[in-house]
């Protein structure tokens, strides 16, 4: 658990570091640090509840917030995503519409049921609900996300769940003691939950139905362990009964509370939140220490030179410096060969991704659509379901395709960057050599790799409109296909074939356009970030190299006394940085 004051202390402690960053012209590092700091300061933690349909996700949420917000009647299934957060007063906003026109409206609290439980035949155009309520449990910033179950008959449900899954901080996978853990559940857990969530816990709800909870726990752990190839000790599984927890609110009997296992669930959630926060906290510490190290190293080069009495060949040093400057200048010039190469590579990756997308859509709107329509059992509804499913699958894969391209590219650029910067001949001074040969962009590339993907896709739910564009794009596209097709459900077979194509094809194109735009935007953002980073890195490298060369030249000109004086000066500069690093290190150790 991170105490509130510890975070405050850390933020206070790194203030001087930020000053040092800006004194040393580390602008992009300052920006990165700000992003990491936002993570620590963020009050809201998004906890997503997912699992197969009718496993008691909504009742689990109701039992946590101690209110019946999510509809739980046995004959209905949750059909939309609900985001439930703290608010002074009850308030519900419904987001709906199509990609061209996203709208929101405030609806009555009593109408939540109406919008969240629609069945697939008359589900309206709701994309998600945002619910604010004055629940004590949410006051600390816990935000619960209720999702439609997966595995039912509506393909859109699974898609909505996976989309929001990648936008949440934490996830609970809910299964039920009613049935053994099935292969469909395992597949969802392995394919959709594991890749985007850090050790998602599993809750076996409805344990009130069973007498063999130990056996169930073992069974779930064992299956997940085997299927996902995880040590079963590392899988967190908890049995729970939302029924008993809700019963406890009525009876106030201790035995109901105890047997519901609610205390353990609460602990589990708190523990997950703590881990999440600690992680963010440590990220800030590590990053600050690392950048300070970086700032410190030219000073250490100077110090070493001051302490040793070996003379340095200024000529060679100057040559090395000059060559390096030239190369750096090339990096800064957008028309240079290196920069053109990079933008060509980004372009290639972009067209690769687009081609995959295009190809899929061509297949979908020609061969596949024809095949679906001409299947002996085909009717408008099955065709719609299949197309819908294909688009959803493709859309949910897009982020993955884009991210793997970005990862590939940043690795490639890192090695090209270092190749460009390395010098052909030996330079004097081992420290200088190390400094000049140091893989310059590594930290920045790492940062891009680790954080850029999150920057692209994160920040979704808190600021509402931007985040949802993809869901709307595809969801709405698929939705409109379905609406169009619905009117043909009653049509005649032979006329229908053409009619279906006429309705579905424009919708497939609409979905294509939306996805194309999405991919393009992401690549533009990525290219801009990469180029910006390379320019900054280049500028910083020039600056640092110049600083080192000049200081060493100065040192060479100095006599013994001046050297001692200068040594004291450098030591004086290094000392506060090291001190600061020490403080941060200690603050970091306090959370472990």
């Amino acid at each position: 658990m991170i105490a509130e004051d510890l975070t405050v202390k850390l933020l206070k402690t790194i203030e001087p570091a930020e000053k040092i960053f800006s004194q040393n012209d580390r602008v992009s590092e300052l920006k990165n640090l700000q992003l990491l700091k936002n993570g620590v300061q963020k009050k809201e933690i998004l906890l997503l509840i997912c699992g197969e349909f009718k496993n008691g996700k909504s009742s689990l949420i109701n039992s946590i917030i101690e209110q019946s917000i999510c509809p739980v009647d046995i004959d209905i299934t949750t059909a939309v995503v609900s985001i439930i957060r703290y608010g002074e007063k009850n308030k519900v906003i419904r987001y709906f519409g199509t990609v061209e026109n996203i709208q929101e409206e405030i609806i009555d609290f009593e109408d939540i049921d109406k919008y969240s439980k629609a069945s697939s035949i008359d589900s309206d155009d709701t994309i998600f609900l945002e619910i604010e309520l004055p629940a004590e449990k949410l006051k600390e910033g816990l935000v619960l996300i209720d999702t439609p179950g997966v595995g039912g008959l509506d393909a859109r449900h699974g898609f909505l769940t996976s989309y929001f899954l990648s936008k949440s901080d934490l996830a609970l996978f809910v299964t039920s003691a009613q049935d053994p853990f099935s292969s469909a559940e395992l597949e969802f857990y392995r394919e959709k939950v594991l890749p985007v969530c850090d050790s998602p816990a599993i809750v076996v709800n409805k344990i009130d139905l069973a007498t063999n909870s130990a056996e169930i726990l073992y069974d779930v752990k064992n299956k997940v362990g085997q299927f996902c190839e995880i040590e079963s000790d590392n899988i967190k599984v908890l049995v729970y009964s939302s029924l008993l927890k809700l019963e406890f609110q009525r009876t106030n009997k201790k035995e109901d509370l105890d047997e519901s296992n609610y205390i353990q669930l609460e602990q589990l959630i708190n523990c997950k939140i703590d881990d999440y926060k600690i992680n963010k906290y440590i990220n800030v510490c590590d990053y600050t220490i690392e950048i300070l190290d970086d700032i410190k190293s030219p000073l250490i080069v100077q110090l070493e030179q001051l302490q040793s009495n070996k003379p340095i060949d200024i000529e060679t040093l100057n040559d090395a410096y000059k060559e390096r400057s030239d190369r750096i200048n090339e990096l800064k010039d957008p028309t240079s060969a290196f920069r053109r190469k990079i933008s060509r590579q980004i372009q290639e990756a972009r067209s690769g991704a687009m081609a995959t997308l295009q190809e899929q859509f061509v297949i979908l709107s020609s061969d596949k659509l024809k095949k679906y329509i001409s299947e002996p059992k085909a009717n408008a509804e099955t065709v719609k379901a299949k197309v819908d499913n294909d688009i959803s699958t493709l859309a949910s894969k897009i982020d993955g395709i884009i991210l793997s391209k970005f990862d590939e590219l940043s690795c490639l650029f890192e090695s090209q960057f270092n190749e460009q910067m390395s010098l052909g001949y030996k330079v004097p001074s081992s420290y200088f050599e190390r400094e000049i040969k140091k893989p310059l962009g590594q930290k920045s590339f790492d940062f891009i790799r680790q954080n850029y993907s999150n920057v692209i896709v994160a920040g979704v739910i808190t600021s509402v409109l931007a985040p949802i564009s993809l869901v709307v794009a595809v969801g709405a596209g698929a939705f409109m296909i379905w609406q169009g097709v619905k009117s043909f459900l009653t049509g005649r077979a032979h006329e229908r074939e053409i009619a279906i194509q006429n309705v579905i094809n424009p919708q497939i194109r609409l979905a294509t356009d939306n996805l194309n735009k999405y991919v393009n935007d992401k690549f533009n953002a990525f290219q801009y970030a990469i180029e910006d980073m390379i320019s900054t890195e280049a500028k910083n490298a020039t600056f640092r190299a110049k600083e080192i060369v000049e200081s060493i030249q100065k040192i060479e000109k100095k006599n013994k006394e001046q050297k001692i004086e200068m040594q004291q000066l450098v030591e004086h500069k290094i000392k506060p940085i090291e001190q600061l690093q020490g403080y941060i290190q200690r603050l970091k150790e306090q959370v472990k």
């Binding site: 197969e52 349909f53 009718k54 496993n55 739980v72 046995i74 004959d75 209905i76 299934t77 069945s119 697939s120 035949i121 008359d122 595995g151 039912g152 008959l153 393909a155 039920s176 009613q178 049935d179 053994p180 853990f181 099935s182 292969s183 469909a184 395992l186 409805k206 344990i207 009130d208 139905l209 069973a210 007498t211 063999n212 909870s213 056996e215 069974d219 299956k223 299927f227 009964s241 029924l243 008993l244 019963e247 009997k253 035995e255 109901d256 047997e259 002996p376 059992k377 009717n379 509804e381 099955t382 379901a385 459900l489 009653t490 005649r492 077979a493």
Partner: protein, 515 residues
């Protein structure tokens, strides 16, 4: 059934015509079709793991542990239950065309335990289990391993059996929470092989384990009905895939056969403790069997009751016994049949599968006959081919002249979505074709008893109505025209049958009772 007889005549005469040795394989095909038509209908019970399939099989047979049951994945092979002595050997069929083996029951039980389960799953295709229960004379039951099982070979064995190995005539699909896409896909695959005749006629759904809806709901059966109604109304794919979906609690269905007087004595004892203590103790499964329970039964007794009736069953039975002193075993059995949904289930099984059995069997047998012919046709000379063609066309002629078959075809069109009907027309169609019951009253959509005169009048009126539909819309839509003709004709046939039945009735009455 007349249709069956006419088809049998065609096949018999075909057999005589196939004298040339080269045509011997065709004879085999025809013989297999005979066999199939003469044997009972085969109904496979399928569903997700642990959706109480085996319990349902036991319940239909009215006997505990004919097939094993349990919480986890315990059914690890396909069991085909046929009529025969309980002492007869179990016949094991292998996947690799190896000759089937016979096992005595004792030896089988010794071998078929969990240690050997992997081997069994790998090598065995299915096993035939003879069992002495009269229902098996009419319908063979096939118990299958669960779908969506962790051990994927379980699900594969079931899917293979349905589409490749045996192709049963019909399936009963169980799901415990709601229909999942995976399960519906399996049913549709099965139906797809069914001569491309895509209709829910050969599949019906069971919403099982309805007792789990208690205590959120007081009456599990009512809750289950609400859910099944909603499912069929709101999910078009359900309506197109399954004939009907019924709520059921297999455990209590089985209990209605196997409950005995000593069980009632235990429940009677429970009914004597204060209601509040009882209700609190039954709140969760583990509390009911806990060591420091306030209940007046031993842990062993409580455990026994819970595994036999479940908490919902115990609650309903105990409350009933408390309110009705000196209740009889018969009364309790009837109560269990009712609250479990078993009475409606058995009625539907009888109405739908048993009465339509011949037609369903005929369709699937003829489909297989045609497919086998098609496969063989390439190996035959011109003479052989012409024999096949003539048999095929004779069958088609018979089928097309048979009102029952024509009705079936119209139903197919309807379920495929190729027939545009108003709500009222749809209602007429489903009733007259016997989808809701076979009696004249039900086919005319009368809710209660009516006189023969009234029935005849309605049949007339409906026939006129459908003739009118045919004249008005038929020109625009040939499919509708044909359907309207078939339905109108069905009303005429029904009217004739009613009149005929009344005459016979009067005749019989005169003969027996006239003084």
């Amino acid at each position: 059934m007349e249709l069956l007889n006419r088809i049998l005549v065609i096949l018999k005469s075909a057999e005589y015509r196939l004298n040339a040795p080269a045509l011997e394989p065709l004879k085999d095909i025809i013989r297999r079709t005979f066999e199939r038509l003469e044997s009972p209908m085969q109904v496979a019970i399928i569903g997700k793991i642990s959706s109480s399939k085996s319990t349902l099989v036991n319940a239909i047979l009215g006997q505990d542990e004919v097939v094993t049951t349990g919480f986890k994945e315990v059914t690890f092979n396909v069991s085909w239950l046929k009529y025969g002595s309980n002492k007869n050997d179990i016949i094991v069929h292998y996947k690799n065309n190896q000759t089937p083996d016979s096992f005595s029951r004792e030896n089988w039980l010794k071998w078929a335990n969990h240690e050997n389960s992997d081997k069994i799953k790998e090598t065995i295709s299915y096993m035939e289990v003879p069992y002495e229960s009269s229902i098996l004379k009419k319908i063979n039951l096939i118990d299958t391993p669960g779908l969506e099982a962790f051990y994927s070979i379980d699900s594969q064995n079931t899917k293979d059996f349905l589409t490749k190995v045996k192709k049963p005539d019909a399936v009963i699909v169980l799901f415990s929470k709601g229909a999942s896409k995976n399960i519906i896909d399996v049913v549709r695959d099965f139906q797809g092989t069914f001569s491309e005749s895509f209709t829910p006629i050969n599949a019906f759904g069971i919403l099982s384990k309805i007792d789990d809806y208690w205590p959120s709901e007081n009456d599990a059966l009512i809750a289950g009905k609400r859910m099944t109604t909603k499912m069929t109304e709101e999910e078009p794919i359900i309506k197109r895939t399954l004939f009907n979906v019924l709520p059921l609690c297999s455990q209590l269905a089985l209990a209605s056969s196997v409950i005995n007087n000593s069980d009632i004595a235990l429940l009677d004892k429970l009914s004597s403790i204060p209601v509040e203590v009882f209700q609190n103790s039954i709140k969760t499964a583990s509390r009911f069997v806990s060591e420091n329970s306030e209940l007046n039964l031993s842990i062993k007794e409580r455990d026994y009751l819970q595994s036999k009736f479940g908490r919902y069953g115990i609650l309903v039975l105990t409350n009933y016994i408390r309110d009705h002193k000196d209740v009889s075993l018969k009364e309790i059995k009837a109560l269990l049949k009712k609250i479990s949904g078993f009475d409606v289930f058995m009625e539907t099984l009888e109405n739908h599968f048993n009465k339509r059995a011949t037609l369903i069997k005929l369709i699937s047998a003829l489909a297989e006959l045609k497919t086998s012919f098609l496969k063989k046709a390439t190996e035959l000379n011109a003479e052989g081919k012409s024999v096949i063609d003539s048999i095929n066309s004779e069958i088609d002629v018979v089928l097309n002249s048979e009102p029952d078959y024509k009705e079936f075809e119209v139903l197919q069109y309807f379920y495929r979505g190729n027939l545009d009907l108003t709500k009222e027309q749809e209602n007429d169609l489903l009733h007259i074709t016997g989808e809701y019951g076979d009696s004249a009253l039900k086919r005319l959509n009368f809710a209660e008893k009516h006189s023969v005169q009234e029935m005849v009048e309605r049949a007339y009126a409906k026939r006129a109505e459908w003739n009118n539909y045919k004249a008005t819309y038929g020109l625009l839509d040939p499919v509708f025209e044909e359907a309207a003709e078939v339905i109108s004709n069905s009303y005429l046939i029904l009217k004739n049958k009613i009149v005929e039945a009344e005459n016979k009735f009067t005749e019989a009455n005169n003969f027996l009772f006239n003084i």
